[in-house]
């Protein structure tokens, strides 16, 4: 095992060296860095050309320049020495500093999107696999491929037009016209009727209920101008909490495990109580506090599950823990909604909260809630755009993997011995279906650092992709090499991690050292 890792790392280092040499030469010979000045009619044309030649060290041939660069880059290997020198860009900025800024921008943009895309993609993949060849399966597949094949710059521009500009205009007077409420109700009702499966009667009833509920909620939201002063309140949290308790228990242990259900319901109740208790504390919130509260909430849930006991204590603990986390999330979401009017009316926001560019409102001041809402309003559109286009691969991958597993012999055995369908899916199929996903998720993390070049440029986020493109347009190898190093190293490390994880997850795969 160890020798395998060492061998892989050694090959990785050699590949990195060779690839960096190639990339450097390709970038350096991709054009003429003086092209614009050659055609210039500025009286100091020669002086400017000399200055740029000096800055980019153009008198040294590119292969030699690579070794100069390598000399600086090699110092990065010495830990804590702080001599890391990846050169400077055309504007004189050290690449190490530029990479620091770009990496943060890219990570804030793509992390959330990737995590959500994985979660949603896997869920959809499982559901479509279980309802293979149903209308739902075809619908999801079609939508996934549709979004996959849409150009992201166009999706992004549409999102800005309707999601930001249109929605902001709507917020000035958030009244939903009745036809829109009815229309949304009908659409969602039809979707649910198609999705639930089963007999026609069951479908009609489910669809009808959803239609009525959605329309009623939308009419209510419109009549109370909810979007101006949104909020959930203890009642909604209570109802949603009970719903969540049932849903989580169904998935984790099945409703037959009464102790687990009771633990979950207790957590829903505690959630409502905590809503009243915790408000003064939340007024002083910081990011760390929310994080600690989340951990505390889960621990309380686990504790309640433990105390409830029952024949399978573990299941109760898990169900209660997850429910606690979700209900806690509702309480926090409610607090964000309470802060919304303050944010909305802030003089910096000028009543147009959803942003089309950047990562934050400049000079915005406020507490944790205001600043976090600001981050959300800036990230929501790029995140949605990225999720839409990357959903397809996760959905399809999970679906096929799940289908393969569901046709395995051991699944038939599990059913034959009388296990409930829930236990078969959650306990036997689902986990094994996730194994192949470990590989694509690891690959995607490598790609994630490389940045979402187009999304970045449409939403004016100057991340890794921008740095890379900017280097290419200025025929400046230094930024390109900086980005290349980061991406290449992450990709290689995560490839290795994927291989190791695969062998750890799937006992059939063994690493031969």
């Amino acid at each position: 095992m160890l020798s395998y890792v060492v061998r892989r790392l050694a090959t990785a280092a050699l590949i990195l060296l060779g690839a960096s040499f190639l990339v450097y030469l390709l970038t350096a010979s991709s054009g003429d860095p003086l092209a614009d000045l050659r055609a210039s009619n500025a009286p100091n044309r020669q002086q400017l050309m000399d200055a740029r030649s000096q800055l980019l060290d153009l008198d040294t041939p590119a292969p030699l320049r690579y070794f100069k660069w390598l000399g600086g880059a090699a110092q990065c290997l010495v830990p804590f020495a702080g001599n890391c020198d990846l050169g400077k860009s055309v504007t004189g900025q050290p690449i190490t500093e530029a990479l620091g800024i770009a990496l943060i921008q890219t990570l804030t943009l793509v992390t959330g999107a990737t995590v959500l895309a994985i979660l949603i993609g896997i869920t959809l993949g499982i559901v479509t696999a279980l309802r293979q060849y149903s209308a739902l399966d075809y619908g999801v597949t079609f939508m996934a491929f549709l979004f996959f094949s849409l150009p992201i710059f166009w999706v992004a521009v549409l999102l800005k037009e309707f999601g930001a500009i249109g929605f902001n205009n709507f917020l000035r007077n958030p009244v939903i016209p009745l036809p829109v409420s009815l229309g949304t109700g009908i659409v969602l009702g039809v979707v649910v009727a198609v999705a639930v499966g089963g007999e026609i009667k069951r479908r009609l009833i489910s669809g009808g209920v959803v239609f009525a509920l959605v329309t009623a909620v939308m009419v209510y939201l419109s009549a109370t101008l909810w979007f101006k002063t949104p909020g959930l309140g203890p009642v909604v949290i209570g109802i949603a909490g009970v719903g969540m308790a049932f849903a989580v228990t169904t998935l984790v242990s099945g409703l037959k495990n009464r102790k687990a259900l009771q633990s979950s319901l207790i957590m829903a109740g505690l959630g409502v109580i905590s809503w009243f208790v915790i408000q003064p504390l939340l007024a002083q919130a910081t990011g760390l506090m929310i994080f600690l509260l989340a951990i505390g909430t889960v621990l309380v849930g686990v504790g309640v599950g433990y105390l409830m006991g029952g024949y399978d204590r573990g299941q109760s603990m898990r169900a209660a823990g997850i429910t606690a986390f979700l209900v806690g999330g509702l309480v926090v979401m409610d607090r964000f909604m309470q802060a919304w009017p303050t944010y909305f009316n802030n003089s910096r926001v000028r009543g147009r909260p959803i942003a089309t560019i950047g990562a934050g409102t400049p000079n915005l001041q406020g507490d944790y809630w205001i600043l976090t809402i600001d981050t959300f309003t800036h990230l929501i559109l790029p995140t949605v755009a990225l999720i839409l286009v990357s959903l397809a691969s996760y959905t399809r991958f999970t679906r096929s993997s799940m289908l393969e597993i569901m046709n395995m012999d051991y699944i038939r055995t599990a059913r034959a011995k009388g296990l409930s369908e829930r236990a078969v899916i959650m306990g036997h199929a689902f986990r094994n279906a996730l194994i192949p996903l470990a590989t694509i998720v690891a690959f995607d993390i490598g790609a994630l650092i490389g940045g979402a070049v187009i999304t970045e440029s449409v939403f004016s986020v100057h991340g890794m992709g921008f740095l890379f493109l900017d280097g290419i347009t200025h025929i400046d190898p230094n930024p390109v090499m900086g980005v290349f190093l980061c991406v290449a190293i992450t990709a290689m490390v995560f490839n290795l991690v994927a291989d190791l994880a695969y062998s750890a997850l799937d006992p059939r795969v063994r690493i031969k050292a």
Binding site: G31, D32, L34, A35, D36, R38, A39, S40, N41, A42, P43, N44, R45, Q46, Q47, L48, D50, A51, R52, Q54, L55, V90, T91, G92, Q93, E97, I101, A102, Y138, F142, L146, L150, W154, V157, L158, K160, E161, F162, A164, I165, G166, N168, N169, R348, R350, R352, A355, T356, I357, G358, G360, P362, N363, S457, V458, F459, S460, H462, F466, I475
Partner: protein
């Protein structure tokens, strides 16, 4: 398969959405309020590039956005207005020509003009500006690779290089420059006009370079002799330290923790910078030595693409945009409510140059070729989509924004080339069918269009046109190498100043790629660069313009259009062709 019909339906729906999104213009935007300008408030401006340096005069800091921030945070003896006139700012200080021969200019900063740390703007600051912009100390010889270039400036040093070491006034607020020969652009010589002028504080540079104070810096400048590239001396370590700090010490993508690195002596001061995202300017509270600003705060947002700028304007995130001009951008802006579109012309222009060699050595062939160039069609095809009022450019030297353009155009001979005249061209060719290779940047669609139109028309007169288009990375390296007979590319008129003229048109000029050598024009240009009087300069330039046209040089084609837009919630924004752009009157911007 069940799939078919549904997928078709959704496909049609998707295409319909696509089509609709193209028309989704008027879904409402901020309602316009009437009324005049008011004091205070915040104004958002979009910039294409990210801010990177508080010294916009250096070779690596000389980007558009750095120049704009430099302009808003610093003062100068003059600024350039949207009619391309020089406007003196006598509240800051005055410059006066003491004598014409030798040309002697005295610069005096008014008392009470201060950096934002309270230090008076002094002779030391003027001296540093002079030292960095004169290449006085440089003894670098690029051919032999000897000597040193101290200050890495982006400014043209040819003017100040003619001066001796300045005389410092006894009040310590003035310097006097004496030129060894008259210099036409003397008014623009000191300070990088359009970028801020007197923008780097000497006392800060002195301290950062390890000197005691500004006086020590002045003494250092005095102690070092003029550099001579023919006889390079060893590097002066202390001066190099000063110059290096000047060249790179003010580069920063974020707000430095040391406030001395972003001192202001202009209407605004930088308050905050978020790297590659935004920059915030607030009023410089001491400032009373120039036009008074209205807005309290200006937020500069970095937005790269033109569509993103338009959408940010629509969503109220910025109030002023200056996107790259294209027909689509103009359409998008026109579709917005509550937004004013400003259409103007940039100082850059496309032109067709004919080599004075090869098949074009014969003047009649050049003239014949010029007669075939369909300039009006080119403008119609390329520019009218963006600017319906566009016309061909009729001067080799002036642009319409300059007062002298109209007079020059009347007599420079351009009238003969208003319309295509194939018959006359055929007559001049007298049966010859010269083969002409036209070189241009084939990655630039405008140049490709211009080439196609010229080829079509010239072929009718009997020219055989060879397509010599090259990729965007290659074409400029071939300028002047004789591998082509004609070329289509762009130049930038300097707007103010005349030293750009000999650079292009003088025998052996640095950008004279087609080998023009006209003794009369050369003589006029020799006179021009030592003429210090504006009216006389215009007169000479008008003569030069006519002389160039009469040699059948080639043709100016059109000026690039310029597109700006601003929300009608603000006032005071005007079109400005030069690199300062809308920022030229930043003090007039106000919220309604």
């Amino acid at each position: 398969m069940r799939f078919g019909r549904i997928s078709q339906a959704v496909g049609v729906l998707a295409i319909a959405t696509l089509a609709l999104s193209a028309c989704a213009g008027n879904t409402g935007s901020p309602s316009s309020s009437s009324g005049g300008a008011q004091e205070g408030g915040t104004i958002g401006v979009a910039e294409t590039n990210g801010f990177s340096s508080f010294n916009s005069g250096t070779a690596d800091g000389n980007s558009d956005v750095n120049g704009h921030i430099g302009y808003a945070t610093h003062s100068n003896f003059l600024y350039i207005d949207d009619k391309l006139n020089i406007v003196k700012n006598e509240k800051f200080g005055k410059y006066e020509k003491l004598s014409d021969d030798p040309l002697t200019v005295k610069y005096t900063v008014n008392e009470g003009v201060k950096w934002s740390d309270g230090t008076q703007v002094s002779a030391a600051d003027l001296l540093l500006t002079w030292a960095s912009g004169s290449a006085y100390y440089d003894d670098a010889n690029p051919e032999k690779k000897t000597g040193t270039t101290y200050f890495l400036t982006a400014a043209d040093t040819s003017g100040l290089h003619l001066t001796d070491f300045p005389e410092i006034g006894s009040d310590n607020r003035s310097i006097t420059l004496k030129y060894s020969k008259p210099f036409a652009d003397w008014e623009l010589a000191l300070g990088f006009a359009g970028n801020g002028g007197i923008d780097i504080p000497a006392h800060v540079v002195a301290q950062k370079a390890g000197l005691k104070d500004a006086q020590a810096l002045v003494d250092l400048f005095k102690s070092v002799k003029r550099g001579d590239p023919a006889a390079p001396k060893p590097v002066n370590a202390q001066l190099k330290k000063v110059a290096d700090f000047w060249s790179t010490g003010f580069d920063s993508k974020t707000l430095p923790s040391d406030p001395s690195l972003f001192l202001s002596n202009g209407p605004y001061i930088v308050k905050d910078v978020v790297a590659e995202q935004s920059l915030t300017l607030v009023r410089n509270k001491d400032y009373n030595w120039g036009p008074t600003p209205h807005a309290d705060e200006i937020v500069v947002r970095t937005i790269g693409g033109a569509p993103a700028q338009v959408q940010a304007l629509k969503n109220g995130e910025v109030d002023i945009i200056n996107p790259q001009a294209s027909a689509d951008t103009v359409e998008q802006i026109k579709a917005l409510d509550g937004v004013q579109l400003l259409q103007g012309k940039q100082l850059s222009y496309d032109h067709l140059d004919l080599n004075y060699s090869g098949p074009f050595a014969d003047k009649d062939v050049r003239t014949a070729f010029m007669l075939t160039v369909p300039r009006k069609d080119i403008v119609d095809k390329i520019i009218k989509k963006i600017d319906p009022e566009a016309t061909p450019l009729d001067s080799q030297i002036f642009v319409p924004a300059q007062a002298a353009y109209a007079d020059s155009v009347k007599n420079n001979g351009s009238s003969a080339y208003q319309d295509v005249n194939i018959d006359k061209a055929k007559q001049l060719l007298a049966g010859k069918t010269p083969t002409i290779r036209i070189m241009y940047n084939k990655d630039n669609p405008n140049r490709v269009d211009a080439f196609s139109l010229i080829r079509e028309s010239a072929t009718k007169a009997g020219f055989k046109i060879v397509d010599g288009g090259l990729g965007k990375a290659d074409w400029s390296a071939h300028l002047g190498d004789g591998s082509y007979d004609a070329t289509i590319f762009g130049w930038i008129n300097s707007g103010v100043g005349v030293t750009g003229t000999p650079q292009i048109f003088k025998t052996g000029g640095g950008s004279n790629f087609n080998g023009l050598s006209d003794p009369d024009a050369d003589k006029l240009m020799d006179e021009l660069i030592v003429t210090t009087d504006k009216a006389k300069q215009d007169e000479l330039q008008t003569k030069i313009d006519a002389a160039i046209w009469s040699t059948s040089y080639g043709l100016p084609l059109f000026q690039s259009p310029d597109v700006k837009a601003y929300s009608d919630q603000i006032t005071g924004v005007t079109a400005m062709p030069n690199q300062t752009g809308v920022w030229w009157n930043v003090w007039d911007w106000a919220r309604k």
